[in-house]
Amino acid sequence: MKKTLYTFAALAMFAVAGTAHAAGNTIEQPAPPAGGWQHDGIFGTFDKVAAQRGLQVYREVCATCHGLKFVSFRTLSDLGFSEAEIKAIAKEYTFMAEPDDEGEVLERTGLPFDYFPSPYANEKAAAAMNNGAAPPDLSLMTKARVGGPDYLYSLLTAYRDPTEADLAALAAANIELGDTTYFNPIMGGNQLAMAPPLDDGLVEYAEGQPEATLEQMAHDVTVFLTWAAEPKMEERKEMGRNVMAFLVIFCGIMFFAYRRIAKRILGH
């Protein structure tokens, strides 16, 4: 038994070692918002109303610079949007149509099966218009950074003018702030080319919704992007609960079967 424990402890350490990577010269570590995330835990589900507001933040703010190329309009039904609403959202974007019979390529408005387009013609154009740093696609952002949703939320809310202490810490780490970058204690290297994108009241939420504070918008857009990165999360967790329940029972039955056979065959 003791050996078993040791081995499992060792395996756990292996696993931790595999995923432990330095965040690289950051003054602060990501943290979740005060209320935590509704999508956390075994029973976690997406906060759909927050995700709907998050879509609004994305479309009115982030979409100026960031694409969402793996998210199709039709999948917005996951968040409770009706077919008509989805058609209306898709219609606001234009796409290149297939060549017509004369071989001419015309523009057409978006349809539910289209994907959120990138705002730039290509990566070079994106970089050229943003001081050399192309805004990354946000489809997988919450899975592509250590800290996940906490990272995104903290990044969006951590912008500030560097304090005396910050400047001292930067100096100690030999980091110089650039002219075209903004200080952010969460970002690796403590600065990035994205100007603080959110500000209190930047977006006007519908009647009956919470006030659009910086924190509220950061929370909402993070919920939306967490869904965008892992749209099958709810399905996964639900199936997981059934599979785990089955396996617990199956394990128990098999253990008793094994003990009975051991008694019969080995006598102990």
Partner: protein
């Protein structure tokens, strides 16, 4: 030696008709039903079956993934996202396959360390042990190439770093690397050939597994006491005892496995692999998958030597760390197999286990970072890696050969059945 197994006597006419012409049922009966096993096997003996099960899981999920995956550098990442979002239960298939590789390694590492403790590598099982190592090497190649397929940042840069290692070899290095790449850097041709081999190698593994089991069935299984079976009183049939026990162990494994698949599917992966491969942007830290970390640590621990530079020396040390296991049956000549009766070897073995875990941790760290401080003296991960690397080699190349000569082993029991009776008295 082992007692002969019960003959197969089919009652079904069709089976009997086929079996007389193609004795496949006799073979299966001999392997899964009447295979005589020592009566004292513990839970650690289940990990061989579990490894076989993980191989089947990987092959089945892999074949279905291939139906939706596109092996092209411009489309691979997108096709994996297509699997995750649009294919029915595609997310489940992919998460099972990605975590399945990790669990395959967990199971096989336990299986290997079981063999190291109980001396299963010793005669007459030397070839059995060596075939196991061949499987391990093939698994490493398969998993490495599989990790390249989603074509994320870690896929690309991991492939670049690891293939570059072969370039350190004299003479053959450069042509070998170009052969692996199919060009002058990791690119679409690399992805294509890795995809082809990633599909092929698991089936080669199946072939070697069959030979592995074949060589097992000649002398029969070793056991926790490490002494030979003396007669039928020491043995039981594989079925039903081991079939039921293995299914129980399988359900425990699946419980842990599915906890990861459903609740922490990306825990063993690296976030950077959700960023599409970009040859122009090198990630800050390039780390291989966790199951390669102990070997990666050995690679990076070797300094410049007088006769060769650190890179070549590191590659050779890493190669040697696995290849020396092939010589293990001749390095450890102690007549006693099981660590239970080897008072010194037992302790050195547990230190080795911890040593390899520490090597794994070191593999994930930046060598020049401070691991811990003694007073004002900072000890770097590099130093920790060097000490643990030394211990690794010393265990096999110095300790075991010396212990074979000088260790005073404890008295062995007369027979398995006697020991079992004494224990349960």
């Amino acid at each position: 030696m082992t007692a002969p197994s019960r003959p197969f006597e089919p009652t079904n006419g069709v089976i009997s008709w086929i079996d007389r012409r193609l004795p496949i049922f006799t073979v299966l009966h001999g392997a899964l039903v009447a295979y005589p096993t020592p009566r004292n096997l513990n839970y650690w003996w289940s990990f061989g079956s579990l490894a076989g099960f993980m191989l089947v899981i990987q092959i089945v999920t892999g074949i279905v993934l291939v139906m939706h995956y596109t092996p092209h550098s411009l489309m691979a990442f997108e096709s994996v996202e297509h699997i995750m979002r649009d294919v029915n239960y595609g997310w489940l298939l992919r998460y099972i396959h990605a975590n399945g590789a990790s669990f395959f390694f967990i199971v096989v590492y336990i299986h290997i360390f079981r063999g190291l403790y109980y001396g299963s590598y010793k005669g007459p099982r030397e070839l059995l042990w060596m075939l196991g190592l061949v499987i391990f090497l093939l698994m490493m190649a398969t998993a490495f190439m599989g990790y390249v397929l989603p074509w994320g940042q870690m896929s690309f840069w991991g492939a670049t770093v690891i293939t570059n290692l072969f370039g350190a070899l004299p003479l053959i290095g450069e042509p070998l690397v170009e052969l692996l790449w199919g060009g002058f850097s990791v690119d679409n041709p690399t992805l294509n050939r890795f995809f082809s081999l990633h599909y092929l190698l698991p089936f080669v593994i199946v072939g070697v597994v069959i030979m592995h089991i074949w060589t097992l069935h000649i002398p029969g299984s070793n056991n926790p006491l490490g002494i030979d079976v003396k007669g039928s009183q020491d043995q039981i049939d594989f079925h039903p005892y081991h079939t039921v026990k293995d299914v129980f162990m399988l359900s425990v494994l699946l419980l842990v496995f599915f906890a990861f698949v459903f609740y922490a599917p990306n825990f063993m992966g690296h976030p950077d692999n959700y960023i599409p491969a970009n040859p122009m942007a090198t990630p800050e830290h390039i780390v291989p998958e966790w199951y390669f970390l102990p070997f990666y640590a050995i690679l990076r621990s070797v300094p410049d030597l007088i006769i060769m530079d650190a890179k070549l020396a590191g590659v050779l040390a890493m190669g040697a760390s696995i290849l020396l296991l092939f010589a293990l049956p001749w390095l450890d000549r102690s007549p006693v197999r099981s660590g239970t009766f080897r008072p010194v070897m037992k302790w050195l073995y547990w230190v080795l286990l911890v040593d390899v875990v520490i090597l794994g941790v070191v593999g994930a760290k930046v060598p020049d970072d401070t691991a811990f401080s003694i007073g004002s003296l900072g000890v770097t991960w590099l130093t920790v890696g060097q000490i643990t690397t030394l211990y690794y080699f010393a265990y096999f190349l110095v300790a075991l050969p010396l212990l074979s000569k000088f260790e005073k082993t404890a008295p062995l029991p007369e027979s398995i059945s006697e020991a079992v009776l004494a224990k349960n008295a």
